[in-house]
Amino acid sequence: MSDRTTTAQVAVIGGGPAGIEAACALSNNGIRVSLFESEPVLAHNVGNKFKLFPDFSSASELVATLSHKLSGSHVSVHLDTEIVSMEQKGGLWFLTDNYGHTHEAVAVLLATGYDVFDARRKEELGYGIYKGVVTSIDLESMLKAGKLVNVLGEQPQCVTFLQCVGSRDEKIGNHYCSKVCCVTAVKQAIEVKKLSPRTDVFLFYMDLRMWGQGFEELYREAQEQYGIRFVRGRISEAASTFDDRVQIKAEDTLVGQPLKMSTDLLVLMVGMEASCGTKKLASCCGVEGAYGFAHSCSPYLSDNMTDRQGLFLAGSCKRPMSVSDTVNDARSAAVGIADYLKTALSN
């Protein structure tokens, strides 16, 4: 065996919550695991967040806990290492990375996650054109820095959130709901109010999907305690005003009238799309599903399995998923992989 080749029982592709959780669970059961992350850091998507819904716990603490767990395990971690292709031969998987190295494994877990929707694709909303238009990811950075200002560097009089940017939108080809944006917006709206109590906060939605434990309560708290104004309607256009604010046009569908107002900041709640890695590897293995996400055998009893032997899935490479669901899904994948290894190795 050349020194350019590594072997492991399980190769985990992706170093986010799904990859780390599954790798640690497998490793703790005495299984040899290699983990590959294309970025120089672990869990960059979670790392971009300030606080997590619905309980406002710290995102960086979660990343630190996951990283600590990983470094305390026997998992062989390869950062800055992108798996560019993979194939199965004679019951083994051969993964090729961006350095041209080959990695062998009996089973592979795809945990390649999501990319954030590029808001510039919704031209009419002016992201990348007007400074007052930001994404939910940009807002997380502002909240993290504890500094919320408008274009002129002043405390904003008004902050407006818009749901479903890049989701539920035929025009950009995504019919699906990104699932986490509704509650994220409610969380962020509360954070804005906490940081800047005199700011008026509006939240434009088509439906509010408060599916998780504590979400509906958070929505109610946002209304009652923080006076956040929920408006049912989709903002169709953003433009700059003479005084560098953002003019928005929507319908208040509950009164059936068009609405025109200006706001200091327009926050676009950008949805989740299959990451580049997810698209590439799912298609390379023939397990691509709708919208470039990876396709599992069945959403009921075999949601971690694919049609390919020894290829497993976890987390948001399958569909938009919250952090807590992702972690649970990763543990479930670890159990499936351990079972598979028992059978595969006894043959």
Binding site: R120, E123, E124, G128, I129, K131, E237, A239, S240, T241, F242, Q247
Partner: protein
């Protein structure tokens, strides 16, 4: 500060050998524009552009007013294509934005419904004995001027610069709905931020005003303004735009659609007479130019030969700002030397 990523949206625009189709209404409202376009292409750019004597309407106004049925429009469009084919051209250039929309739409319909194309071919042949080819390229004249904007700049005598302040002129650009809202890909810069006029303004020294109602329709509609009772709704759309652009103090408006250019000009008179309101500081209104007039002025063409005296809002304050030479005494002398009658003065709008 605008990020100019709409440069990514470019369309194919033919390079030479154009078949030109004139507009029904443009020669009345902007009588020098089409002649100026032909002159620019032939004399400034050295292009071959064919001006067919037997051409006719595209039915656009009737079509969009629900008066002319689809099959009639298709056949009329086919006859125009037949004239192009017979003249030996493949690149179709309709002067009017609505014609551009109609041609693009018919070709797209034929692509998806080949039986409609066959039916149209048959009707045209049975009635006129003509056959036709679908153009290789359909471009609006504003596309062509946009494409050659730097070549034209080489020949220009003036820039879009205020000669008193040395600052760029601040220009409102307005794109007709039928240019890119029917088929966003048919427009330079796509539908939300079409770059076709903005590209000319920026290349020629001006500054584009990005005002809040920039993307709002001028209100022309078709059935809307044709019926007198509905005009209040039509004019309200233009008024909304004027109110929105007013604080930016635009030096002029430029448009690429006959309807928009006409109504953004004429409604300023109507609003001034109805409400005694103008949208410039001095009570003259904001001049509205076609893109050919804008280019023609910068190339040094005589403002009166370009037909600026037939606009409602008069262009002299703008000409003075740019420093364009003109003879006030020649304003109402026609091209043939005949003295034209002088229009009545409005009550409120200064001229």
């Amino acid at each position: 500060m605008m990020k100019r990523y709409w440069n990514e949206y470019q369309k194919e625009i033919a390079d030479d050998k154009f078949f030109y189709e004139r507009s029904c209404i443009r020669q009345t409202f902007f009588p020098g524009s089409e002649a100026a376009f032909l002159k620019m292409l032939r004399e400034e750019l050295g292009k071959d552009i064919y001006d067919e004597a037997n051409q006719h309407t595209c039915t656009g106004i009737g079509y969009h007013s629900d008066i002319v049925p689809l099959q009639t429009t298709m056949t009329v469009v086919a006859r125009l294509f037949a004239l192009m084919t017979e003249a030996g051209y493949e690149n179709y250039v309709p002067s009017c934005v609505t014609s551009f929309g109609v041609f693009t739409e018919m070709v797209e319909m034929w692509k998806h419904n080949p039986e409609l194309l066959e039916k149209t071919r048959k009707i045209l042949y049975d009635t006129t004995g003509r056959t036709f080819e679908i153009p290789k390229n359909i471009a609006h004249p504003s596309d062509i001027i946009y494409k050659f904007r730097y070549d034209l700049k080489q020949k220009m005598k003036y820039q879009l610069v205020n000669r008193f302040t040395g600052k760029p002129l601040r220009v409102v650009e307005h794109i007709g709905c039928h240019y890119a809202k029917i088929f966003p890909k048919a427009g330079v810069g796509n539908a939300e931020f079409p770059y076709v006029l903005a590209g000319m303004i920026e290349a020629w020294g001006g500054e584009v005003i990005d005002y809040p109602e920039r993307r709002h329709c001028c209100g022309f509609g078709f059935r809307q303004y044709l019926v007198q009772e509905n005009r209040g709704y039509s004019i309200a759309n233009s008024k909304k735009k004027f109110e929105s652009m007013e604080p930016y103090e635009p030096d002029f408006i430029v448009a690429n659609c006959p309807g928009c250019t006409m109504f953004l000009d004429k409604w300023q008179y109507t609003i001034a007479e109805m409400e005694n309101k103008t949208y410039d500081k001095n009570g003259y209104g904001i001049p509205v130019l076609s893109y050919e007039e804008m280019a023609g002025l910068l190339l040094g063409y005589d403002p009166w030969k370009l037909g600026l005296q037939l606009h409602q809002v008069q262009a002299e304050p703008l000409l003075n700002k740019i420093g364009i030479a003109y003879d006030p005494n020649e304003k109402f002398t026609g091209v043939s030397g005949k003295i034209l009658p002088r229009p009545e003065k409005p009550h409120n709008l200064l001229v």
